[in-house]
Amino acid sequence: MSDFSATSSLLFRDLTLAWHRRSDVLQPLAFAVLVVLLFAITLGGDRARLSAMAAPIIWVTVLLANFLSFDQFFREDAADGTLDQWLSSAVHMSALCFGKALAHWLVYGLSLLLATPVLAMLLSLDVSLLPVLLVSIAMGTFGATQIGLVASALTARLRRGGILLALIVLPLFLPLLIFGSGAVDAVQAGLSARSALLLLAAQTTLLTTLAPLAAAASLRIGSDQPP
């Protein structure tokens, strides 16, 4: 029971902190809009070509924007000693890691999800594809957040972990990307998105189950390096 109250306490703390740092939260969002705008301008007048490529572009952009937010995961908590306080408390670290990922998704994943219709509009995506795109982005960002949780836990105490974080995270995004944008492709080709979405859901479930455990273990291994 104390694990549950600790996790919800962490969730509220992170949401409060995110509210205090609203401008930081908007940065990945602004990045996503800018990248999509660049594509829209480069691909230019050919609307048919633009709308055919819209789904993969949106998927890659959203995942990259999500990746930019991973730096916020543990770096500050590691630097100011908060992480060591958690590790030296009786609460299970994996429970806290789950709360951490949930808070992160509610701040960054959800805001990217809400921005997706705007991105779709910029790339003149067929409106009938929007529901399947939103469902796949919702699941995909949740899974991606779990990948980010583990990778950030591994690099939390490194002075310059940014590039390493990219090298760990980006290849792991691939399965999410394949089935996520595959689901939209299927609907576009007049097929059912069911199997692609189910596989995406399976991945996200597996990641959500295992990632907090892996992240907790990584943080504990790194704890012999004081901030």
């Binding site: 703390r13 306080q85 030296s88 009786a90 004081p226 901030p227």
Partner: protein, 206 residues
Amino acid sequence: MSLFQLEHASCERDAELLFRAVDIDLGEGEWLLLEGANGIGKSTLLRALVGLYPLNARSMNFAGVDVLGDRGPLLAHTRWLGHALAIKRELSVIENLRYALGIAGRVIESDPHALCALVGLTGYEDSPVRTLSAGQKKRVALLPLIASSAKLWLLDEPFANLDTRGITLVHRLLQTHLTRGGSAVIASHGDAQLAAPSHRLTLVSP
């Protein structure tokens, strides 16, 4: 009654022993002053006790329970305070206290305003911590210590950044903790001693 026992403990850094093996036997209401030169491993020993650094020891007991393998029973009744204060600049004093305890799975057992008054932070309860001075931030970091019911305090240089009144304050908090049957291990250079420790332990290189 003996609350915390540590037998033949040492820590290594890069395969070299940091200090000669030490024994600690701490009863209820007693406190130990941990001394030693800079870099000898005072902070490392405290971190090792709460499981943040590998510890070699023959045995470690807390309230009669072996905690060398599983630190759980020890951590449930211990509060460690390191060099880093673990407070958030954007949050207010009371928010910092509430989340520090909440995330450790504990609840505030007394009135937060009374606790703030106890550490001399009256009038700052709802101020964001970024507006406070270094010494006041240190006092904020002390709050979770007195707000929780931890039996054993492990304090790493608790006098750093504090003025004379702050040092007296830490001693007063410590005395209250000890009279309630608590214990403490305090690492310090010994420049700010006002009360005599029950035990003294000086770390020496092997």
